[in-house]
């Protein structure tokens, strides 16, 4: 079935303008896929960093293992310029 709206149960085909807009949108998704994958990677990285932020407060001394872990997290996005590299990135293990 071609692109369509479902309005109250009635199938309404896309207009030519809507088809063109969707084509443009989907092309942009493909073009931006590496950046999107990197953003996803960064998002997960940021969540993991945030989970150990409290250990890096000034009134606490980071263990070497934890410092190494957090550095590895910060460095993880480096060089991830393709979707495959982002998808296959190996996150460090939390000590």
């Amino acid at each position: 079935m071609s692109r369509h709206h479902n309005i109250n149960g009635n199938i309404v085909p896309f207009t030519a303008a809507e088809e063109a807009a969707r084509d443009t949108e989907e092309a942009a998704i493909i073009t931006n896929a590496p950046a999107t994958a990197l953003a996803t990677l960064r998002d997960k990285r940021n969540r993991l960093l945030s989970a150990t932020d409290y250990l890096a407060l000034s009134d606490n001394t980071l263990t070497t293992a934890m410092a190494t872990y957090r550095t590895a997290l910060r460095d993880l996005p480096n060089g991830k310029d393709t979707v495959a590299k982002c998808t296959n990135a190996v996150f460090p293990t939390k000590p």
Binding site: H4, H5, I29
Partner: protein
Amino acid sequence: MALVKLNNKAVSNATAFGSITALGSMTFIKKLTASASATLSFVDGTDGVVLDDTYKEYVFTFNNIHPATDQAKFTFNVSSDSGSNYNVTKTTTYFTTYHQEDDGSPILQYEATFDLAQSTAFQNLSANMGNNNDDNLCGELKIFNPSSTTFVKHFIANNNHVHQTSAPASVEPFAAGYCNTTSAVDAVRFQMSSGNIDAGDICLYGIA
């Protein structure tokens, strides 16, 4: 009314029950089923759809909403011109809970990029969804007094869904806000932020 005898095993000797009235009702109005659909729209006044002052509260239920595209967000907007334009101004809030399948990153946080401030854009109802065969979204959206020409129209939505394929997680967003218009809202549209709604049902109920 007959006496009802209770013991530790059962209810017995109940030969008739009294009627309970004036407790209100939840009335089914319309069910739309997505099939590789770009949008699902409920428009008042045709095909049995009611979205006016018949009810003061309307509930949309989402069942097994499955996106065609990975990392697409489930969104909605409303219309005050019978579906000609879905661009009513909204101010909203959005926070979420999140927990990954690998037990990582449990969070509860406000999502400042998912809310709206006097915007006509579609409101996100989900994070980036996964499109694996078993990924989906279930939940509901409530809209209050859509036909009011005095007040703004409040809505409250929450659901649970599976996060995108690269980071599978249970995500429960809470989106709420108001359509900042005193014109009657008479149509509601749901769509993914990109790609189609591959499958799933949305049902509309009126609360009396």
